[in-house]
Symmetry: C2
Subunit: 413 residues, 2 copies
């Protein structure tokens, strides 16, 4: 038997991606045509939708994009990003409790580009990148594309808090084998569970990493994915933990990934930034140079119009207040949906992951694929994960939320 | 002496990029403030500018973007790109002489993203990627970022035609050491020289590669960068060479890189596509799956608004005719500038690279850096290359073109 002929390089063989989320969404649409829209719950779509099933868009952001001078849409942005954008991204991501540190930023396409550069530039080829057992699938895709793999720690302890013990064990375990570690941590409003680390938990996480970096022999890179931060409480509160990233040793680098996708409903414009935080000005400079080079070496520059709009929002208090007021409406809608889900889960005795905020609620299920199939027969279309099922409360109309938990309980039987 | 402390992985050390083009442009702007705009030639900027020194923008494209429904700007595009966009990109890039082959496309941020995926997925780690001795600098940056290096062949023969002999030698030389070869060929309207291969030269290039692939043992990947194709003659003529990419053996893959940056003056929107052409449906499918996976593993998806606009242009004959008429005006302006440059070069006895079309004219200079410095003193700001100087006729006002060649001759002395 001859092996299948392939044109790709040896390390790039066999790539494929059945997009289960997309396929499930398609099934939901077919079901809606057959049984009527109101009788089908499509819980797959990871973007905010109104109760009218329309993509929720911040009107002020939309207007700002349309009103840009033609050059601000058409022209190239600088490779590292527009300076006003980078300044806005740093301030909007880190908030009022900025860490005492040197801080530099480089524009990337959404948060995904930041993950790629961080893994590529800061972990060794073939090394393991650490993330939680509940994780956003593309973390693994991005690691694999770049010839790394994912290692996991248990995200929750028995009290539904952050599992500090397993985190510490896995960090130290990997550091016995590796000279460096890249840790991908998505908080607040974690995808897929909606969990947020508390202030105390953030403090403990940084203490663990300080200990691990104390000898100075290992390089520790903490990547903090804050894609959903604007739906996780007030501006100041949701960013309070940033203060822990100051005064770290020089062999510890924090990278905060800012994205315009959710917070500015600009998913399709592909605009974000990676923000490097270091107590060494040299390491901050290296961060900028390294990732600027990687921009040129991968996708060149970013979407200028989106960058300009963020600069305009940050630079004008009135506009910023408008954007925040519009977003607050969406946050309330989302919070209300999540409350209904949690309330009905309690009533039905359905155990869910500890949700604090954000787009998704997840349910731990042992045989996720089986339950997923059963639920589809009930016209509820969720996303199956290794550890359970994900429900996109961001896109399910409020009126459809309440009935979900009981049906999940039934399907699990 | 201790080595400088670094946080990056071992393969990512020492990245930096003094952007000489940007720095030179800044120098030109300072000189303009000092000596007056009309007395300073900024020949560095690689985008089309009008004689009023404004970025040239196709008004119909600009209007289409502004008139899009909000969802078409805000929503994510599919990972591989909008189907209508991919269809438009294939048809607009390959034209009327489409090769007899299986053809699949994947959206990428401009042409740069296509180069990254092609190098990453189709050349072995550490292998050499082949391009011409006159080449666009970022080819090397992209190769280096992805742990490959560039090998070069002489682009021109003694008659200022394509140097088929050196091309063949270097292809066969590399194939003695490598199991596969990725060749980056930018034509028509090559950056930095403005050269275009003739129909006969394209025929010869594919014959050389057919011979090299004949044994079936080696994998040959020809990457054709057509970033400037819309400024290189009529739609049909400029794409005539695509016919040579049909009926190749299955171990030869052609990738055509389409970009909206120049042809649709959409530089800042980061929209392009890589188009895979193979006589094997399996290899075409592998091309799609591999590069779709790489999209997810690097930048996720592309700019939806730009994709939608291209689909709209291709789908409506009237709109397409308008865009083409607007672009034709720009092409004439560009052609006129190039003619003046060539005419004055002849008059001054300045030998230039064989220019056929496009944004740039290059002058072979042995001590490029010295001549570049001398020219700066004359208030002419060019881009220094290893082999000479590049003049961006795309962005120099027509009235300033004529005086350049004579000054270059003087500076070379």
């Amino acid at each position: 038997m001859s092996q299948q002929f392939s044109m790709t390089a040896s390390h790039a063989k066999g790539k494929s991606g059945d997009d289960l989320i997309f396929a499930t969404s398609k099934e939901a649409n077919l079901a809606a045509m057959k049984f009527g829209e109101e009788n089908v719950v499509n819980a797959t779509i990871g973007a905010l939708f109104t109760d009218d099933k329309k993509l929720a868009i911040l009107p002020t952001v939309d207007r700002l994009i349309r009103d840009l001078p033609a050059e601000e849409i058409s022209a190239y942005a600088p490779i590292a990003g527009l300076p006003e954008f980078l300044d806005a991204a740093i301030n909007l991501a880190l908030g009022e409790d900025k860490p005492e540190a040197f801080i530099r930023a480089v524009a990337t396409p959404g948060g995904s580009g930041s993950i790629r550069h961080t893994i590529w530039n800061y972990s060794e080829m073939g090394d393991k990148v650490l993330t939680s057992d509940w994780f956003w699938g593309p973390y693994k895709t991005i690691a694999n594309e770049n010839l790394r793999d994912i290692a996991i720690y248990k995200f929750f302890d028995e009290k539904d808090g952050f599992n500090l013990q397993d985190f510490e064990e896995k960090v130290n375990g990997l550091l016995k084998k590796q000279d460096s570690i890249v840790i991908l941590l998505n908080s607040p409003a974690h995808n897929p569970t909606g969990f947020s680390l508390s202030d105390q938990e953030w403090s403990s996480v940084t203490e663990v990493l300080k200990k691990a970096s104390a000898s100075g022999e290992k390089r520790i890179i903490l990547f903090v994915d804050v894609a959903y931060i604007d739906y996780a409480g007030t501006f100041a509160e949701s960013r309070r933990f940033m203060k822990y990233f100051g005064n770290l040793s020089r062999n510890m680098l924090v990278v905060v990934a800012f994205s315009m996708s959710k917070g500015y409903t600009s998913y399709g414009l592909r605009s974000g930034a990676m923000i490097g935080i270091s107590s060494s000005s040299e390491i901050a400079r290296e961060f900028f140079e390294t990732n600027q080079f990687s921009n040129r070496g991968v996708w060149s520059n970013g979407t200028r119009s989106a960058m300009r709009v963020l600069g305009d929002i940050y630079g004008n208090g009135d506009i910023r207040a408008k954007v925040e007021a519009e977003r607050e409406e969406l946050r309330k809608m989302l919070g209300n949906r999540a409350s209904i889900f949690m309330e009905e889960a309690r009533r039905s005795g359905l155990k869910i992951c500890p949700y604090k905020a954000g787009f998704f609620i997840s349910v731990p299920v042992e045989n996720a694929m089986e339950t997923w199939e059963s639920l589809k027969k009930e016209n509820i279309f969720a996303v199956p994960l290794k550890m359970g099922l994900r429900f996109a409360v961001c896109s399910i109309p409020t009126r459809q939320i309440g009935m979900i938990p009981e049906k999940v309980v039934k399907a699990m039987k």
